[in-house]
Amino acid sequence: MEDLCTLPAGHAAPLSERDRSIMTAGRSKTAIHCADDSLAGSVSQRACVFCGARVVLNPVTDAAHLVHGPIGCASYTWDIRGSLSSGPEMYRNSFSTDMKERDVVFGGEKKLAACIDEIVEKSHPPAVFVYATCVTGMIGDDIVAVCKEATRHHGIDVIPVESSGFISGNKVVGYRAAAIALMRLITPKEGERIEKTRKLNFLGEYNLSGEMWLARRYLQEMGIEINVAFTGDSTVAALKQAPGACLNLVQCTGSMHWMAMQMEKEFGIPFMDVNFFGAENTAESLRRIAKFYDDPEITERAEALIARETARIQPALDRYRQKLSGKRAAIYVGGAYKAVALIRQLRGLGMEIVLTGTQTGKKEEYAAIGNLLDEGAVVVDDTNPAEIERFLTEMKVDVMAGGVKERVLAYKLGVGFVDHNHDRKECLAGFDGAVNFAREVYVTTCSPVWKYLKVPPEDQHEVQP
């Protein structure tokens, strides 16, 4: 049994196909191989199309989100998003058509139509998003037709989301399905005209822990209004005003880049990538937004804000930097944009980044990550627990930033962990977020509990103080 205690084959013989998905900064000659489908049989950290669509759309607070499929898809995604609402709570309910065997055999369209009727008649949402799942896609339920009929019948937007899980194991495909649904929602109907304003939309901002609210405060101070965020704390009515914005900020590029391009094409709204994670990124983003407006007053107010906030948080950041300097960090997150933000922030805290990976990064994004990192740092695409274990141990990592599945694994290996995903409960954006993030990294890296952990002599490495 002794040999089962670690990962015998996992250590010695990772599938050769995986080698192409791993590169070492400054050493690998070839580009990383990514966006492949995961190997059959792998313990992948990846999800599915439905998952991608659900995380993008679910924060629309006053819409009813109806999952058309067997119960599981609705159960596992019930209020796990962590996006906060300033008003409606409709999105925190879990609606499912709860398909049974007879629905699979005879088709689920009738049941879907009846569920939509019940929801609309009882709860009067301004819109219903209807998500397709594996089975409904497989048996060929025509959710587009059902939604069209329901739209006509109820006079509200009933919008199909074509998110059958099997279409791809890559969430990005689901982001696209969500973006198509959103475009359908916000495109003005014939005869409708949306007034152009000086407001901006904030795409790829999901208001986790109220992060959108913080960005809104900054922008308000500069004299800029957020029209609507996609989709954190948004309502159907507010989203419909989206075409009236003069600028789209894009935060989570993975989920919203295509949407931004569509909106530029359809409504002539230019877009700009921004990043509110970390003080440096926040300052840089605010400056670029101010520049877009080309108004000396806005620029002046932005500079005043940046100077004030930077000075305010610096002492706290310095304190954490002292504690964290020289520690080794690993990053494994969903998209590349977040990985880049984390690299900058952790480095700002004096830490060394030894491993970076994403579930859905693209080739050019990985190249950018590789250029940011020091020589010898490892970059991986769609990794698995065995690889994470190997790297965390071999590279003597002190703290890891990732999502729920990585948390418990990191802890078991005696590595600190900070959540930069749905489960985060602290606002990590903006200047305040930079301090919160530093505190979270410090708390987990320097927990007093670590010193009670006995480390076997053979893999004794620098244990956190």
């Binding site: 999800a47 998952c51 791809s168």
Partner: protein, 454 residues
Amino acid sequence: MLECLPEGTVEHTIGKINPVKTCQPIGAMYAALGIHGCLPHSHGSQGCCAYHRMHLTRHFRDPVMASSSSFTEGASVFGGAANLKTSIKNIFKIYNPEIIAVHTTCLSETIGDDIPNIIKQAEIPEGKRVIHINTPSYQGSHITGFAGMCKAMVSYLSQSDGTQKDQVNILPGFVNPGDMREIRRIVGELGVKMIMFPDTSGVVDTPLTSKYQMYPDGGATVAEIRDAGNSSLTLALGSFASNDAADLLQEKCGVTGIPLKLPIGLKATDDFIMALKDWFGVEVPKSLTLERGQVIDTLIDTHFHYQGKTVAVFGDPDHVIAMTEFLITMGMIPKYILTGTPGKAFEAEVNAMLEAAGITGSRVKAEGDLFELHQWIREEKVDLLIGTTYGKYIARKEDIPLVRFGFPILDRAVHPLMPVVGYRGCLRLIEQISNALLERRDRDALDEDYELIL
């Protein structure tokens, strides 16, 4: 919170709003984790596997490993046989488990993959095993999937060698590892040799050692599950989760099966211990008699804190049935009793208990959802809510204290380690229930009514 739900009573007849169940595969995955050296395998899209692992991880706060056939559109059109065969080959090569436990998903079920045939054609290294259960997500619930995987363990692994051993098989049901440890302790105190499967203690409640074990020390070994065919008795704890496997053991290997409630509460624990005493002719040791006496002592010390209070209890059927019995023992009034899992047997069993206790006016429902429970509570409020984390919305909206019980609990920790079964479990439940009501009393008390001693 939840103000979007319509006021008053409205009819809700189709689909589910705020479910009290999830799908079969996660139950099969959890059961499979209770086999030593097992890698559960999800035959379907990646999303399913990712969701199940995430959900289990959020409840247990431990790593949960499982692989996926990673279906794509091609597999969905041409069938998943190639994916499963490649998976089996890859899994043994990369992750090297003792055994792979395959469960299906709604996708592979709809495609109609013939799993036993595919397994027969797969490359399985000498001495390794692959077992399977069909778990169509559009039937039953996670409990059905758990029951199915337990049954698969018997059908693939258990063998009778023709001699009966003086040992008991325990099918513990979909309970926490802390509960399984406690069951093991009780049976040990009675001096009966036992085989428990599945057994997730030592698998999803592992210590932090800085060393990650993909296959932790815990879990019933394949040899043990095989030997279950030679036991003289099987105790099936919780009919929904355990009866299928016990029935098959009886049919296949001639092992007598006795269905019991989950040993949650005084009476169910008594029944569990007496079943072992009667069958094996062992004496109940003083240590257990002492524990039982402490439970009764505590019940009397605290009865005025909760007697006569009304309760809404929801969750998985075996848990809810046993909890209802204990609430009756405590003199509380189970007012609304609901599970999301389908099965008329649930309603029949609960109604019989209520009738025997002379309790009228309660509502009992299988295959219900929290929308419905919420409506009932709005019609007539209760003093206490007992159920999973998902009860917290109703608890907040209706301002009712919530005792967290069952699966999943996503917003509190430590629960997987703390048993609710056995006499010690009784003490824990009494403490939780009575504290919840007393905290509320303290919170609501005016200054002049605020008391030091309660």
